[in-house]
């Protein structure tokens, strides 16, 4: 049996770093304050491999890219995701493109960590779920775990991956605890979603903080006799298309929930996926419940209002199931004499 230890997501990340630094002498950690905050790593692996940097995200990221091409495996902590705006050239134009443009001469095994999400009332310049921007950019991988075990297993996988991986840590989860496998060969493969709850009436797909929202909604729905399947994507690029499609083909209804805003977000991609590749199975419109298309406010009251809540998910599913239940009417004129059904308004609007 796998031995487990209870720890927070933050501790799980630290353990992953420690194990990978132990495992591979090419791994190094750089960032503003990484050496201050993780003194034990400096002690054990030396100041060469755990480097406080100047406050300069562009050169931190650029240095990681150059070092990765030259045989090291840098992990950089860019603190909050919006600070990646300064590192965009290094991440998007260099890390994501230079392997391809060089005809495969170089590889860029690096990990860039950024925190984000509601919970700290810090406002849009710290709290911006911009992971979809990196999903859209070529040549990168993107992960965003929901459970401490995945924080560990995905960070280890990211460090071992030969490609640049963006690792987003949802602020609101960092201090939540969970059981984490001790094994130092515990890896969560990038690109594999986790089925968090099995169900048959609707598929709820989410990642990071809102996985818990979906699980809570699923419990509420169970009380009302509706069986919801809950998928935690874990990796946003590559997306586990099969896991989502398989579930949707079974449940025939899809609700996607995330804190990031909707336009061109992960939810858009998944809805498009379902509409393209699971169309015949769908029995109801695909619903996205997302953060608003607005910067995140600092005020606690507005932060709360911006995040999808379990009740919203539950209400949407109830509406969806009702839609499906009165089935053939919505098939409109595909059925003899049928009239066009009006569409229910299912996108959460602010």
């Amino acid at each position: 049996m796998t031995r487990m230890t209870r720890m927070s997501a933050e501790q799980a990340m630290h353990q992953a770093l420690r194990e990978e630094m132990q495992h591979d002498p090419d791994v190094l950690l750089m960032g503003e304050g990484v050496a201050t905050k993780q003194r034990d790593l400096v002690t054990d692996f030396g100041a060469d491999r755990v480097r406080n940097t100047p406050l300069a995200e562009a050169i931190i990221a650029g240095t990681a890219v150059g070092a990765a091409a030259s045989g090291l495996r840098p992990v950089i902590d860019l603190l909050f995701a919006p600070f990646m705006a300064y590192a965009m050239d290094a991440l998007v134009n260099s890390a994501g493109k230079l392997r391809y443009l060089s005809g495969g001469q170089f590889r860029f095994p690096l990990v860039a960590i950024g925190m984000t999400g509601t919970g700290w009332c810090v406002g849009a310049q710290h709290n911006h779920n911009l992971e979809a921007m990196f999903v859209h950019a070529p040549g990168l991988k993107v992960v965003m775990p929901a459970e401490p075990a995945d924080f560990k297993g995905l960070l280890k996988a990211a460090i071992r991956d030969d490609n640049p991986v963006l690792f987003f840590a949802d602020l609101g989860l960092l201090h939540q605890e969970g059981e984490v496998p001790d094994a130092d060969d515990f890896i969560v493969p990038i690109g594999k979603a986790a089925l968090r709850r099995i169900g048959s009436d609707v598929t709820l797909v989410s990642y990071a903080k809102t996985v818990a929202v979906c699980l809570e909604a699923a419990r509420q729905l169970a009380d009302r006799g509706i069986s919801a399947e809950v998928i935690d994507l874990r990796s946003l690029k590559p997306l586990d298309e099969d896991a989502v499609l398989q579930s949707v083909r079974k449940t025939r209804r899809l609700v996607i929930v995330h804190e990031a805003s909707g336009l061109c977000g992960i939810g858009a991609e998944l809805a498009a996926l379902a509409a393209g590749k699971a169309f015949a199975a769908l029995r109801a419109p695909v619903v996205r419940l997302t953060g608003p298309d607005a910067p995140m406010a600092s005020s606690w009251a507005l932060e709360q209002a911006a995040v999808p809540q379990p009740e919203t998910v539950t209400d949407s599913v109830l509406e969806l199931v009702a839609y499906g239940a009165s089935a053939p009417h919505w098939l409109g004129d595909a059925l003899p004499g049928g009239a066009m059904a009006t569409e229910p308004v299912l996108m959460k609007s602010y």
Partner: protein
Amino acid sequence: MDHEQDIAAGPLRRLETMLLIRAYENQLVELQRNGAPGTCTSVGQEACAVGVVEALDVRDRIVTNHRSAGHLIARGADPGRLMAEVLGRVDGYCGGRSGSLHISARELGVVLTSTIVGGELSLAPGVALAQKMGKGEPGGIVAVFFGDGAACEGIFHEALNLAVHWQLPMLFVCENNQWQAFVHRLETMADTAIAEWARGHGLPVETVDGNDVEAVHDAAIAAVAGIRASGRPCFLELSTYRQRGHFEPDDQAYVDPAELQAWLARDPIRMQRERLLERGLIDAVGLAAMAQHTRERIETALAFAQASAWPAPDSLLEHVYA
């Protein structure tokens, strides 16, 4: 106020403003302990804010950063509306949308604020360009406050080159408080780096004791006059110290206690108080009255902020677009 009067009143007013900033931020610390959002306090840096802001006039504009309480209060911001903002309430300067990290107050000329380190440097040249091109009042300049950390960001270099080359009326104020969050600045740059970097851009550069409010004020008065006369930028590096943590709460376990002690001994408020006592510009009674007045203002502010309502959830989408 005529010049003679100001010579006496200025130092007293500067002491009182520093006391108000300190009291305001100590109140925020206490609020944080009781569950309010954390803040980046400027405790120990009040002389920088007061010395510079008092050298500006109503035509001038201020662009600041995450550690802005001193700049705002020195410019006359209402501690009640500031506190309401920190608490995320509707009566805050930004209706609770900013919180502590990006408070701007257009009515006071504190026009833009970014909590992206270096953001202030990115924005300020545009404000100055607009002033130079006739927006705002004639003769106005822009004072931009930033830290030693921001000086490491590439935008520092770009902003200086643009300001110098385009002859923008800007006062660059680097509050070198020795810290960049959890990293001591000497871990990231040479000791005299910031002034040398600035000097490489060929603008007037002065390094000043940032804990001596009168020295800061004198240097700022001279710099502002120079900028108004020439239309060109100046650079002030104020050496000071961040007495508290980076963000509340912060145990400062990573801080060298001897270094902190040495700077505490040079606390800007203490220094100004001693100077005024020495010069006979104030006595114990006067100091007590000042303290009392400050206390009352903070109490009023707190009551105001706590009574302020939360923003309505359905206002969430207001102000995304003009």
